[in-house]
Amino acid sequence: MVFKKKDLLSIKDLSKEEIQHVLELGDSFKEILTRDIKKVPTLRGKTVVNFFAEPSTRTRTSFELAAKRLSADVVNISAKSSSLVKGESLKDTAKTIEALGADAVIVRHLSAGAPKFFAENAKCSVINGGDGAHEHPTQALLDLFTMRQKFGRIEGLHVGIVGDIAHSRVARSNLLALNKMGARVTLIAPPTLIPAGIESLTAVKHGMGAEIKYDFDSVIEKLDVIYMLRIQLERQTESLFPSVREYAKLFGLNLERLKRVKKDILVMHPGPMNRGIEISYEVADIPQTAVTKQVANGVAIRMSVLYLLLGGVEIEKVAN
C-alpha cells in the first residue's frame, strides 16, 4: 500500500489500515536503524525541508535523521533564519520553499492550521510537525508504535493521558489515533486543563471518544499506559492551577503512585520532561518509562511517513 494523499496534516487524514501500514513499515525501518550502515537509497535525489517556525530540537532532529537515513537532501529553516522575521507571509514562504524544489516540507508552527494553509499554497508534500494546540500526527504514530512494541497490539489497551490536555497537540493526535485503533482513552487533568467538548472529539465518527477523570488515583490501577504531558510553568500565572506544587501532588507520577499501577505498565512522555513536576526524578529513569524508546522510534516512524508520501508516488508511477 502507498499513500495517494499529498500531505499528512492530521491523524484524521489516515484510515485505520493506513496507520497499521505506517506501523508495520516502521518495523522494517527500525531494523535498518540497527544495521551498521543505517542508510538506504530510497529517497535519493529528493529534497526535504524542515520549516520550523517554532523552536524544536527533538522533532526537527528526528525528521532530519529520518530524511538522511533515506538519502534525501535536508535543509533546515528555523524561525530565526527565515524571512519570517522580516515580515514575509506564510503564503510567500510556502511559495518560496516550493520554488526552491522541495519535495516535502515539515511544518512546525505556533498557529493551529498553519501546515494546512501551507499545504494549500504549495504543491509539495506537507507534514504537520506540530501546529499550536491542534495536532502532532507523527508524534502520535511513534507513540502508537512504542505501545505496539511493548504489548503487540493497540486494540483493547487502556491509555491514560495525564496533564495539560487543553494546550496539547500531542493529546489530540494521540486521542484520535488511539480511538481509531481501538484503544480506550481516559483523560486525566484538572477541569481547567480539559478543553470543551474533547470527550466527543472522535465520538462523532467512531462512537468512542474519551472519558474524563479529575482524580488520577481513581483510575491509575486500570491503566496499561500512562502518558504524561509536559506542564508549562506559565499556566500557573494564567490561573489554570494554583501552584506547581499542588499540580505535582495531584497529577504528578511519583514512586508512591507507581506502587498502584499494573505490573507491566508503560510510562510515556513526549519530552522534554519536567522532572519533579509531572514526573518525579526517579520515575523518569525506571525501565517502564519509554521516553528514550519513543525518541528512537520517532526516526523509524518518520522514515515510514516520508517514504509513504514521497516514495509511494514513485512506486506507483513505475507500476503504471
Binding site: S89, L90, K91, H109, L110, S111, A112, G113, A114, K116, F117, D131, G132, A133, H134, E135, R169, R172, P195, A196, G197, I198, S200, L201
Partner: protein, 430 residues
C-alpha cells in the same frame, strides 16, 4: 423638479402599517403621494409590478474604513456597495485611523459622503477618546456635527464607572450607546467559539459568557441611569435571554443581529476558513436556532451587516494571524430573503421593519418610512430574482466573504435616494 411614479409594486411600509399594491409618487427629494392607481401625467415611470417597494433600507452597523484604511474601503466604495446591496442609509463605526472621536472626523465623513453623493452616511462616534475606555468624547459637539450614536465597537468599555457615566451623559442628547459586548479577559486570545470546534481545531475559544457577562453589566448600568443601550451583533442564546428579560421589564434596551450569525454556525470554521473568522464568533446550532426564534418573536429589533472589509493579505494568512470580520453590504439582503424570509422564520414585512423603521428609531434618524413628505429613499426589491455571489461583482473594495459562490433569491431592482435613482434594473448607475 423630477417627478417619478413607482407603479404597481407591493408597497410594504411597516411604519405606516401599509402592505398592498400601490403607486408612489416622488417629487424632487420627497414622497408626494402614496395610493392606488395614482393618476399623474408628465412623469417618469418605474414599473414595479411583481416587485417589493419599501422604505430605503438602513444598515446600522458598517465599517467604511475611511479615514485610514482606504485600501480596504472608502466612504465612496462602501456607499456604492451599500447601494448595490439595496441600502440607502448606513451608520459607520468609529474605529478608523484616526478614530472618529472628535467633530473634525465626523464632519469629514459627512463631507466625503456628500461629495460621493450616493447614499446617506451616518457617523457613529466613539464613546471614549481613542477607543481606550478612559475619557468620554465630546458628545455634544459630536451630535451637533452629525453623529447619530456612540460606540467603542470592537472594544468594550471595560471600566464600569466610565460606562455608567457615558450612559448617563448621553441622556442629554437622547442617543443610543451601542455596545460591542465582550469581556476582554474572558475572550483574550480567542479565535472562534469555545466548544467542540475550538478543541478539535486547537484554537483558543471565546466562551458565550464573554458576551453575556458584558451584556448583563450594560443592562444593569442602563437601568441604573435610565439610559438607552443598544447591543449590536448579539450572538448567543444567553444574551437573548438577558435582553428579553430586560425588555419585558420595560428597560430602554434594543439589539441587532447580523445575517451571518443567523445563517452560519461554528461548523463553517472546520477548515480554518478565515473569512468565517468574525467577532463575536460564529456560534453553535443551538445559538443560531435561538437567534431565529428571537427574531420571529420580536426580541431582536434590527438586522445589521457589521460589514467589515479586510485586505486580502489580512485574511490569506494562518488562522490566528487573520483579521476578524466579513463584508456584508452586498450579501445581507439576498441572505435574509432566502434563508430567513423564504425559510418561514420572518415575514417579509417584519424583515423590512428590521431594516427600516426599527433602526431609524434606534438611531433617531428621520428615515425608514414612505410617509408623504418623507425623504424619497426607496428600495425596490425583486425577491424572486436568482443571484449568485461572485467575488468580481462586489462594489466593495474588499472581497472577504464566505458566501462567494452561494446562490440566493432576491436582489435590489431599483434604488432611489432623496429622489435620485442609484440603481436601475439591478444596475448601479453611479
Amino acid at each position: 423638479m423630477r417627478r417619478l411614479l413607482i407603479r404597481g409594486g407591493r408597497v410594504i411600509d411597516p411604519a405606516n402599517k401599509i402592505d398592498g399594491v400601490l403607486d408612489i409618487l416622488v417629487e424632487g427629494e420627497k414622497i408626494a403621494a402614496v395610493g392606488e392607481n395614482l393618476e399623474v401625467s408628465d412623469c417618469e415611470i418605474v414599473d414595479a409590478k411583481n416587485k417589493i417597494v419599501t422604505p430605503g433600507l438602513i444598515d446600522m452597523h458598517v465599517h467604511l474604513r475611511e479615514p485610514g484604511r482606504e485600501d480596504e474601503e472608502t466612504i465612496k466604495s462602501g456607499s456604492r456597495a451599500a447601494a448595490a446591496g439595496g441600502f440607502t442609509s448606513v451608520a459607520c463605526m468609529p474605529n478608523t485611523y484616526p478614530v472618529n472621536d472628535n467633530s473634525a472626523i465626523t464632519e469629514m465623513i459627512i463631507e466625503k459622503a456628500n461629495e460621493a453623493d450616493l447614499i446617506n452616511v451616518y457617523p457613529i462616534a466613539a464613546i471614549t477618546k481613542g477607543l481606550t475606555g478612559k475619557e468620554l468624547t465630546e458628545m455634544s459637539e459630536l451630535v451637533d456635527s452629525g453623529a447619530v450614536a456612540f460606540s467603542d465597537d470592537g472594544e468594550y468599555v471595560k471600566n464600569d464607572e466610565v460606562m455608567r457615566r457615558a450612559l448617563e451623559y448621553s441622556k442629554m442628547f437622547d442617543v443610543s450607546l451601542i455596545s460591542h459586548a465582550e469581556s476582554k479577559k474572558l475572550s483574550a486570545g480567542g479565535q472562534i467559539n469555545e466548544g467542540y470546534y475550538s478543541t478539535a481545531l486547537g484554537l483558543r475559544g471565546i466562551p458565550s459568557a464573554a458576551e453575556e457577562i458584558a451584556i448583563a453589566r450594560d443592562i444593569i448600568l442602563s437601568e441604573l441611569v435610565d439610559a438607552r443601550i443598544h447591543f449590536t451583533h448579539i450572538s448567543t442564546k444567553g444574551s437573548l435571554r438577558l435582553v428579553k428579560e430586560a425588555k419585558e421589564r420595560g428597560l430602554k434596551v434594543t439589539c441587532d443581529v447580523t445575517p451571518h450569525h443567523l445563517v452560519l454556525t461554528e461548523e463553517a470554521l472546520a477548515n480554518y476558513d478565515t473569512n468565517c473568522k468574525v467577532n463575536p464568533p460564529l456560534r453553535t446550532k443551538n445559538d443560531v436556532d435561538a437567534l431565529s426564534k428571537a427574531l420571529s418573536e420580536g426580541v431582536i429589533d434590527a438586522i445589521a451587516s457589521d460589514h467589515a472589509p479586510h485586505a486580502i493579505h489580512e485574511k490569506e494568512v494562518e488562522f490566528s494571524a487573520a483579521a476578524f470580520g466579513m463584508i456584508g453590504l452586498e450579501t445581507t439582503l439576498p441572505l435574509m430573503i432566502t434563508k430567513i424570509v423564504n425559510a418561514g422564520i420572518l415575514s417579509l414585512p417584519k424583515m423590512i421593519e428590521k431594516f427600516t423603521i426599527s433602526p431609524a428609531r434606534i438611531l433617531k434618524i428621520n428615515k425608514g418610512t414612505l410617509s408623504v413628505g418623507a425623504d424619497a429613499d426607496i428600495s425596490i426589491i425583486d425577491n424572486m430574482a436568482k443571484v449568485k455571489i461572485e467575488s468580481n461583482k462586489f462594489k466593495s473594495r474588499s472581497k472577504n466573504s464566505p458566501f462567494i459562490g452561494w446562490e440566493f433569491n432576491g436582489k435590489v431592482h431599483h434604488l432611489i435616494v432623496r429622489g435620485k435613482t442609484l440603481v436601475d434594473s439591478s444596475k448601479l448607475i453611479k
